[in-house]
Symmetry: C2
Subunit: 372 residues, 2 copies
């Protein structure tokens, strides 16, 4: 099981620094969790993830169920052993994956039928089935099966998803047998009353941690912040709060001020493979021709392996040539940058200067990030 303790609350904001104990190490919050959808954080090795200070990574029950199959991971002794990672792991249930491919699924109160992206075969997920899969995979933290809606969505549709997600959460909790920590998920799109309803229904079931889902799916940045501002206080203060799918540094920093503890997103790894670096001086699209003879470091203020050892000119060459090393080095940098940014945020909280930290960051980056 997990234990969560808030060790300090910032005096001027709602930001908090916490410690989350898991069977695979201690996580210092707030934290950004790199995403390893298919049992690998794309382009990174487990040792490199340790080197950049990752304390927990994500994987995805839906993807692992389809390939290699959760039975194989159970047989391997669980996900930690399968992927050679002895720190913490969180598995998402795959709700997001199933519902983002709407043309391939059919949802009822009982569960959701969908077609495999691997071979087109038909599968049926119930809350109970998802728990069985997540228990076989063996992550430290597992997520309930939720139904999420896109943006925009009409209120009726959003309400159905809120009620169904709560019913499924109840069934997940009932089916859950191991000592993995099962987190509930709050839905409700951008409707405040639905968010309230979802938070109340979910908190009533009582979970050791709560996620806010269905954000960063196309809504404006300001609307997302508003929903968080409204929803986060509805969650128990003494439990970890996790906003799913948020990965641009500005959103992370603003969400921490609202009292969020955990984040994950494919953004830093995905944009890296396209040649986009997230740096202390803003976005750097390394494909830009102005970097062709730029022999300076990628981020003048960052000290990761990539920044210390390679020039923009070389990184540009690698990315333009489609070389794997280019994807590796930019991924390394982006993850390192986000993890370091959360470390700095934590330090600022501990020193009661989070508001200043956030203001300085926003003034530097407002125009450059937004939702990357």
């Amino acid at each position: 099981m997990i234990e969560f303790k808030i060790i300090h609350e910032d005096k001027k904001t709602k930001a908090r620094a916490g410690v989350l104990k898991t069977p695979h190490g201690v996580i210092e919050t707030p934290i950004f969790m790199p995403v390893g959808t298919r049992a690998t954080v794309k382009a990174m090795s487990p040792d490199e993830l340790k080197e950049i200070g990752a304390q927990i990574i994500l994987s995805n029950a839906y993807h692992l169920y389809l390939r290699p199959g959760h039975d194989i991971i159970r047989e391997a002794g669980g996900i930690h052993s399968f992927i050679n990672w002895d720190r913490a792991v969180l598995t998402d249930s795959g709700g997001f994956q199933i519902f983002s491919m709407s043309e391939m699924r059919k949802v009822t109160d009982e569960g959701v039928e969908f077609r495999s992206i691997v071979d087109g075969s038909v599968h049926f997920f119930t809350p109970e089935k998802v728990i069985e899969i997540e228990e076989a995979i063996g992550a430290d933290i597992i997520m309930v099966l939720d139904e999420l809606t896109g943006y925009p969505v009409d209120k009726k549709r959003a309400e159905i998803a809120v009620v169904r997600t709560a019913q499924w959460a109840k069934r997940c909790k009932k089916a859950h047998q191991t000592n993995q920590a099962l987190f509930g998920i709050v839905q409700g799109s951008t409707y405040k009353d639905l968010r309230k309803q979802s938070a109340e229904l979910t908190v009533e079931i009582d979970f050791p941690g709560y996620a806010i889902g269905g954000l960063s799916v196309g809504e404006p940045h300001e609307e997302m912040l508003e929903v968080l501002n409204y929803t986060v206080p509805l969650l128990p203060k003494d439990k970890p709060r996790y906003v799913m799918g948020l990965g641009d540094p500005t959103s992370l920093i603003e969400s921490v001020a609202i009292g969020v503890d955990m984040f994950d997103c494919v953004l830093p790894t995905r944009v890296a493979r396209n040649g986009l670096a997230i740096t202390s001086i803003g976005k750097v699209n390394i494909r830009n021709s102005k970097y062709a003879i730029d022999f300076s470091r990628l981020d003048p203020n960052h000290d990761c392996y990539t920044c210390k050892n390679y020039t923009r000119a070389y990184l540009r060459h690698l990315v333009k040539a489609g070389e794997i090393l280019g994807a590796r080095l930019l991924t390394w940098h982006n993850l390192s940058y986000l993890i370091e940014t959360m470390k700095e945020a934590r330090k600022a909280i501990l020193e009661d200067r989070y508001a200043e930290f956030m203001a300085r960051y926003q003034s530097k980056h407002e125009k450059e990030f937004g939702t990357v």
Copy 2:
């Protein structure tokens, strides 16, 4: 410049152990050189190459001329600085690349006109131009521009290439101004008298090292060995001998017995990206379904990072899912395996047991490798 010294000759075979001093470190021969065509050994970082014991890597003047451009590499302070590699580098002239795309080039005694694979633009390489490019890139060892023929090729055509290669080699030597070591290349396809003619013409020009080109282009393994058996003794004993484009372990081990010192090939890295491992127990096609629940190490007798830390089941999953880490881990293993095999070969030479070493290897692998 380089210095080559043979430190021991095996008593029963023609195998020799040498030391090749370069401005970027000492190379112990026989050696396999990983290929980094476009200024990166695909999927590997420079630090990882050091970890597996690579003492020299290849790059390619033709590819670097097209992208990023040799001027950019000169501006960066040369290839070592550009790619963050302080050990030795060898650049091939690109003869092979130009001539393997026959539909895109036109060759005369003056030089060769070809179309860029990057943007279709038309370029003209002369021996002088190639030297200018290789000098800008700044590798420790550079190669003359050669004309090579495919297999099979009629003798007339092969003879023209032999004569032209020698003329071009002379012009390369004349144009060459730096203290980089310029190697000549012997051509002549599978015709013994042409190989003899080419060796004599090339040796007459006098180079600090000699390569044998135009092999492993489709001819049977036995014919390749016959050509080497015939050609190698025609080269000066006190100069390094380099067979271009050979990368399967059996061929390497047999060629060392004939007196070859240096090898390069894209094979170990290319097949790795397709899921094929070269191991002490033969080829392992990791995609095979029999590895799905095989939690043993990739090569039971090898101790590289991949073998020590990951199971066949996980490697299979990564490769099947098209994950970069799969390509990385198999590339690591294949290069490590070839480099280690050459180290063992060297040890066997120093201990006058190369024949036994080779016999044991052949008996184990004859059926499994051949030309991979």
